[in-house]
Symmetry: C2
Subunit: 215 residues, 2 copies
DNA sequence: TAGATTGTTAATCGATTAACAATC
DNA sequence: TAGATTGTTAATCGATTAACAATC
């Protein structure tokens, strides 16, 4: 049973939603029709109350003694994350990381299809990476417009990140998945989501340093 | 001027510290000896008050009318993030992403040196990736012990992530940088830092979907 | 019925922002 | 001195956790 989603779903919940999917798919394959928040929480290392809040916020109602309906959860998560209709994206910067992202097959299931890469290196332009064309950076604006691409995955060197991002936005890009360490000064209506490896490594290092002090 | 750091630095501050460094290095190269929180905030798209809190929490004292001493900030950040002494790490899983991380030269400046990769694929084992040896997964335990490696960068397929992580931990790994979507059930004293691409993409997609509704 | 499980309201916690005093 | 800038205390905000009522 699904009810109307009251208000917008919190940032933290959105971030957790993808986590639920593999477990739910497995449960469905195993023939389970419902699953308890306690079971989910244990598998995903979350608090059961948090799980119930998340699932409730996407409009799925659980049943006492039974738990939550697995198929409905899957449908609700797919709907809320837009995994049902796929958006096309360009990777800008065909270096190690850009190539790795272009080669990752899992994004299609998450509603994202990479249709090409851009680079300035003449040795790369014209070749393919994981069957996707590497295109000349000079053609970025034209192709963004012509193909109506709205998402850019930014993996260029940090010194050129901001300029490239601004070019992409002027051509029509509306959302940037920023893998560079550079903060992007862009119009407010442009969506920027940053993957901050340096921040993540900093947390790891500092916790490791702290744990060494305790030994 | 540096004073004692009162209490432990907050998680959010730790995540932001790496962001300050490129700007500070540039300022130093340009011959500036001090920099104001307003200038930093504008460049990094932060709030000036937040910048002052961050810098104050690592023990650097600013001066009214002048700002913060650039060189002291650089030293304090390097010290707090452990960028002065480099730790060695293994990449486990020599796929696209593992190879990309092994090829990234920036980690050394952030206190992390990747000394080798592990994989089960006989076509990969024995070769090198970015001058780093690809080793047989069977040798993981032995080499972790012999080389006293404490950090593992996990980029294996998700179905094997937990088992591989547990093997690594039993051999002596104390911190895992987890690039897989899998939650790892490990002893409490093991440090796990997750890079959650699916979560980041979910935020991007949902914000894009929300912005479309407003057009 | 008893008990397992959901769902809601209140309390807590951490981080950010606001307000303003202190200082050079 | 005046004003730019730091630094601290209080208020706000969002997320998580605790407590407990509701339900099957």
């Amino acid at each position: 049973m699904v009810r109307d989603v009251q208000e917008s779903i919190s940032y933290s919940t959105i971030r957790r939603l993808p986590l639920y999917m593999p477990l739910l798919k497995n449960s469905l394959d195993a023939g389970q029709q419902s699953i308890s928040s306690a079971k989910i929480a244990e598998t995903l290392l979350l608090d059961p109350v948090l799980v119930r809040k998340d699932l409730s916020s996407i409009g799925v109602i659980g049943q006492a003694r039974l738990g939550f309906p697995v198929q409905e959860l899957i449908s609700a998560i797919e709907k809320h994350l837009g995994w049902d209709n796929v958006s096309e994206a360009f990777v800008i910067g065909a270096g190690n990381l850009g190539a790795a992202l272009a080669g990752y097959t899992g994004f299609e299931k998450h509603g994202l299809r990479i249709v090409g890469l851009f680079d300035t290196d003449p040795d790369k332009v014209g070749k393919t990476i994981s069957d996707k064309p590497v295109l000349d950076m000079e053609k970025l604006e034209g192709l963004v417009k012509r193909m109506h691409i709205h998402i850019a995955i930014l993996t260029v060197p940090s010194f050129s990140a901001e300029l490239v991002a601004q070019r992409a936005v002027e051509a029509g890009i509306r959302a940037i998945w920023n893998f560079t360490p550079t903060p992007l000064h862009l119009p407010e209506n442009i969506i920027v989501e940053k993957v901050d490896l340096a921040a993540s490594l900093a947390v790891l290092s500092s916790r490791l340093a702290a744990s060494r002090l305790m030994v």
